[in-house]
Amino acid sequence: MRKSQHHGGNNAAQPRLLLVDDDEVNLLLTSIALRERGFVVTEAASGEQALDTLAGWQPDVVVLDALMPGMDGFDTCRELRKLPGCASLPVLMLTGLDDDASINHAYEVGATDFFVKSNQWSLLDGRLRYLLRSSRTRIELERSENSLARAQDLARMGSFEWFVGASAPDFSPQALRVFQREPDAQLSFGTLVRMLPKEDRRGKRAMLAETLETVAPLTRDIPMLLPDGLVHIVHIEATPETHESGELIGYSGIVQDVTDRWNAEHKIRQLANFDSLTGLPNRNQLIERTERALESARRMGHQVGLLLIDLDRFKIINDTLGHAAGDELLIEVARRLRSCVRHCDQVSDNQIDSMGARAFRTLEAVCRLGGDEFVALLPEVIEEHDAEVVANRILEQMRNPIHVGGQECFVSASVGIALFPRDGASVADLLRNSDVAMFAVKAQGRNAAAIYRPQLAGKGREKLELESALHKAIERDELVLHYQPKVDVRTARMVGVEALMRWKRGNTLVPPGDFIPLAEETGLIRPLSEWAIREAARQARVWVDSFGFSESIAVNLPSRMFDRGDLVELIHEAVVQNRVPHHTLLLEITENSLMKDLHSVIPSLHRLNEIGVEISIDDFGTGYSSLAYLTTLPISELKIDRGFIRDLGMTPQSSAVVTAIIALARSLGLRVIAEGVETRRQMEVLHRLGCSVMQGYLFSKPKPADEIEPWLKDTVLPKLTSWIGPAVTDESASDSTRQEPAQSRESKPAVSAQPQQRASNNAN
């Protein structure tokens, strides 16, 4: 029964006990009895011996006989307490006397408890177990108090309590350390208030008075000037204690130095809410501020103005001077914009502060939306004109040149204005409509401001959406090339194809007319053209492999592609990569764009020509070609504008123009091709006039790449089409059209212009 395990509760399975008794009989008996109950007993026959033992070893508990010859139990206990580590060692004083004097004496000398000697060992055992438990609890408590104190020190935290009527809170030593005071210092309310920055004192006093009056809990971060001469942020968290009646007894809580955390949070807020380049509030912050401004405006019934400011042609500056210069410019623009409004970096959110109900005015700011887009938020606008005044101030500020990267830059801006509530009830509506107004300014020539009008919405927005979708078209693989065959009706052969771009936007196929002009306007035409060149070369390879394609693919390029220094490399790379000859690619440039940018284009044309890439002049006849130039240009082909072909056989003028073009081409040794041929009649007239190479619906619509080979197989080779019959009979002309361009410059025309012109005239 009396196994040590029986006495549960004790974690130290076998508590170590020092038994001190001068009487051998008792020493023996007690020691046996306690060993039997699970104690590890060390015996000492006198007080002196006990102290010797304790000097080198520490038991969990001491049992000390009170009356002993020599040094008695009381003296022993008093001495024992002075030994290191023995201050809180549990000591049970055994006494044969149960008189009050001995008991008091025992407590006086530091005994933990007393016990009247008896043979009831289980009672002694119980008492010892109790002592051990309470001792352990006490040790744990001390440890936990120590670690709390340490933790509070580490957290720069301390506790305090205050009772109604006291002139100073009672701070723990740790709390005093937060205030950088000695552990025994007194900190009265007066001293505490004097640690606040002067301008805060009145407000904080009021806040404190209100808290006390309403018996409210208190949670505040308070800036305080501490003895180290720095302002620290002290976090105070206190809860009231009340009588059952609700009457306030006092407060208890903690104080903590949260300066570091506060600084970190400030940094985070800064990063989250401010643009790192210009230091202006960012998009997040703008949205938050605008929402609050709208809230106030709803309550107080005024208007809010949102001015969207977009720099004109910023991209050009960025591209030509570099990003560093672009950034420098944005910083200066931000600085100027800031000066145009009552810009507040920090929003006041304290209604008790001096701003009071007008706190929304601190929302006014210029924010950077991103890129070269800024927004000015005017939280209180009385009439439309107020916003216009600010917009004009902004335009005025931009007039002075900005020095960046060692250069003077002239920057202008387009400003779109939207007013709450008239132009939108939400931040998103206002932003969108200011954007529409801004876009209208851009469309009308930039460098101005416009107020949103409902009729502005629509066209501009659609266009913008189209533009942003087009931006992604390449990466999303939405572009395809379709191919329209060029045929020589005389030989009934396909002599090449023209590549035409299509945009698969969702389920619809957008025709080039709907996006090419936009692409040209926005500069997207460059990546589009690059893609087309690579894709055409790739397709050529596919056809070479599948049916021995050896003709050319014509790719349309805008003139601005030709002033790129790397166009030649681009083409070279594309054909080499796909292992097709250079002449596989033929470039078409419209007569208009060629003539417009003639000087910048010519060098490229020569270099292209040198590597074997031929040039065709598209839409020929519509522009104002300088014939003098035409003779010197390294071009290979003229493509008669479809407008003349359409009227062919209907108006004599059109056949006159066509005849003239054919003659011109012939005399310059250029090939000539007609496009937009839709009827047999047009074909026959062209043929008669001496142009046998044609392109148009009569022969084939532009087709997806994989339909070209079947078309060749099914219609051209078996000579199954209506257009083949009459043309092939004219054997005399077939030779000259097959000749190389270089030769044809010298060669005589196979069909003279004269009879053809006549034939044409006859036909009309």
């Binding site: 023996l28 010859p69 043979n119």
Partner: protein, 130 residues
């Protein structure tokens, strides 16, 4: 066990001592304790003689106190009671008044020692037989 079997020592007290060793070595423990008790009395009687000769009431008191509890432990109840009486009388240093009772305590101590000796011998016999 009868009183004679325990040589006049208190049954209850001896039973309690024996009960301290549950492994069945109760007699062994008792024998050891009684031997310690005998020697303790030897020593106490010498101390007592010295104290009496020196008329040291405090020393007499201490002897009575010690003997009181050890004799109670082995069941020498008459000695324990006499010790208690002497302890009481000598607390206020009234050694003269206690002279008779001290003498009586010496007799009781000698008797208790004799009882302890006899019991030890008896237990050894039992142990030998066993």
């Amino acid at each position: 066990m009868s009183a004679t079997q325990n040589c006049g020592l208190d049954d209850e007290a001896l039973r309690r001592v024996r009960g301290l060793d549950p492994a069945g070595r109760g007699d062994q423990l008792l024998r050891r304790l009684l031997c310690v008790f005998e020697k303790s009395i030897d020593r106490m009687l010498i101390q007592l003689e010295q104290a009496r000769a020196a008329a040291d009431a405090k020393a007499v008191h201490m002897v009575a106190h010690t003997l009181k509890s050890s004799s109670a432990a082995v069941g020498a109840l008459a000695l324990s009671r006499q010790c208690a009486l002497v302890e009481q009388l000598t607390r206020e240093s009234r050694l003269d008044e206690a002279a008779d009772d001290v003498q009586k305590m010496i007799h009781e101590a000698e008797a208790a020692r004799e009882a302890a000796r006899r019991l030890v011998a008896q237990l050894e016999t039992v142990a030998d037989i066993a």
